[in-house]
């Protein structure tokens, strides 16, 4: 079975700035990939290319075997996407918003109610379903964004900081959800929280200055920390890989 996400040699420049410089990434079903890197390393830009929001300056992307460039609409059917900051229309209710996304995704009208019900139960949105989105707390807004990405039960999920701004309980809930889905789907999520990688990811990919500097299991990731470090080994490994050499303090 081919990889669900297959990105080869992605480059992206904005004017003179090289945001992404030769990133390759393949993700199979059953993998949860934690996408790590310092701010400005190119995580969001890479995710935007994987979803087709940005065209790569160079490189190729196939989603479920379909070229994102040649047949974007077929490719886009295969993934759900939570953009950075979980944007949504503030003046709509959760129900109207999710119904809109379902319709725009051309889900058959008779199926929409069932899809909505299942996703609302899964993400625990039942209590706010008829509330206007702008009145929701940050945690609920993020959950609406996740629900929107799941409404069509896609085989691929791409999420930019899904737990950002959530309280510890909400973080726990979202992680449980991701772990549960991770057995069947291909999931890419970006995060700044290294424990999250240990908790939910089967693989960690670290990018720094637009390049992949690590791609392996969370255990291998931890082993990158200098041997004498005993506490916060993940943090220390992260710094060892991404900080400019002069700043590495272990």
């Amino acid at each position: 079975m081919p990889a669900l996400i297959n990105a080869q040699n992605l480059h992206k420049s904005f004017g003179a700035i090289r945001a992404v410089n030769g990133v390759s990434l393949t993700v199979n079903a059953g993998e949860v990939v934690g996408f790590l890197g310092p701010n400005g390393a190119g995580k969001t830009t890479t995710m935007r290319m994987l979803t087709g929001f940005l065209d790569p300056s160079d490189g190729s992307i196939t989603i479920s075997g379909v070229s994102l460039h040649d047949d974007p609409i077929a490719a886009r059917r295969c993934f759900g996407y939570l953009p950075e900051g979980a944007p949504a229309y503030p003046d709509m209710t959760v129900r109207d918003y999710l119904t809109f996304i379902a319709r725009a995704r051309a889900i058959a009208p008779r199926e929409i109610a069932a899809r909505l019900e299942s996703v609302v139960a899964r993400i625990h949105l039942g209590g706010v379903i008829d509330q206007v989105i702008e009145t929701l707390s940050k945690g609920f807004k993020r959950r609406v964004g996740i629900a929107q990405a799941l409404i069509h039960d896609p085989p691929i999920l791409i999420m930019d900081e899904p737990t950002d701004g959530l309280d510890p309980n909400q973080k726990h809930e979202v992680r449980e959800l991701i772990r549960a889905m991770g057995s069947t789907k291909a999931i890419v999520l970006s995060t700044h929280i290294l424990e999250e990688v240990e908790a939910v990811c089967t693989r960690a990919v670290v990018i720094a200055a637009g390049r992949v500097v690590f791609d392996g299991t969370p255990e291998e990731f931890e082993r990158r920390a200098p041997a004498h470090v005993t506490r916060n080994r993940m943090d220390s490994a992260f710094r060892a890989m991404t900080a400019p050499t002069s700043e590495v303090v272990t």
């Binding site: 992206k12 420049s13 904005f14 935007r48 979803t51 087709g52 929001f53 940005l54 065209d55 300056s57 609409i73 077929a74 886009r76 059917r77 996407y81 953009p83 950075e84 900051g85 944007p87 949504a88 229309y89 503030p90 003046d91 709509m92 109207d96 809109f100 996304i101 319709r103 725009a104 995704r105 051309a106 009208p109 929107q148």
Partner: protein, 244 residues
């Protein structure tokens, strides 16, 4: 349901989710009344027709159409929802068409609510109903054209105020070029064929000929082509921005 209808419905109902709808309709109808009765002298002319109303429609739409179109795309960009919208499995033309049609339908609702004017002249006299129909068609076309311009400008900025102001200026220029005074100004230093070209692309030229009650294919083709070109340009701008 096809995707464009989902976009269309969301966009149309979003006008009613905010005070935009109420403000637009009240201002539009209020100004339409003032222009028609006070400045247009509907009663003083002693003629049962709606020309005093129709001749002011482009000027009403000059400010009101940009207020409907300014948020179409700039709001998506400001909220970040453009990232969701453009990664949904639908063609960009569907999104552009859905949004445009929602704004246009809303403008048509405003036009339709001027029906008491038509009732009034029909009650007082025996107006040329064909001319009134032509006038409404002309008004709908100008509204559509301005919304097309506004949608294109809105796709270029995330700032709604900029979108509004630039749209007003562009719409104003598109009206201005049809006036004899302006054409006279160019006559001194441009070839007559160039003058004809300027007059030919002016909204006012085509609006006036429709408003006179003559529904000519030429004028309808002009508006349809212009609107289609503006929508295509909007789709291109949105697509182009993907390249960063």
């Amino acid at each position: 349901m096809s995707a464009w209808r989902a976009i269309f419905q969301r966009e149309f109902s979003s006008y009613f989710a905010t005070p935009v709808a109420a403000v637009f309709l009240v201002v539009f109808l209020f100004l339409a009344g003032i222009f028609t009765f006070s400045m247009g002298g509907l009663f003083d002319r002693g003629q049962a027709d709606l020309r005093p109303f129709f001749q002011f429609v482009p000027w009403l739409f000059l400010f009101l159409a940009p207020s409907l179109s300014m948020r179409l795309w700039s709001e998506e960009r400001r909220l970040g929802t453009i990232e969701i919208l453009t990664t949904l499995p639908l063609g960009i033309t569907q999104a552009v068409a859905g949004k445009f049609l929602a704004a246009w339908l809303f403008a048509l609702v405003g036009l339709a609510l001027t029906f008491p004017l038509w009732v009034t002249v029909s009650w007082l006299g025996d107006p040329d109903q064909g001319a009134i129909v032509a006038g409404y068609i002309a008004s709908a076309m100008v509204g559509g054209l301005f919304l097309g311009i506004g949608g294109l400008v809105s796709a270029m900025t995330k700032n709604q105020v900029i979108a509004f102001v630039v749209t007003v200026v562009l719409c104003f220029l598109s009206l201005l070029t049809g006036f004899p005074v302006v054409l006279e100004f160019f006559r001194g230093w441009l070839a007559p064929s160039a003058i004809d070209l300027i007059a030919g692309v002016s909204v006012m030229t085509h609006f006036s000929s429709l408003m006179r009650g003559v529904i000519e294919l030429r004028d309808l083709v002009y508006f349809a082509t212009a609107i289609a070109a503006l929508l295509a340009a909007t789709a291109l701008v949105i697509d182009w921005r993907k390249s960063g």
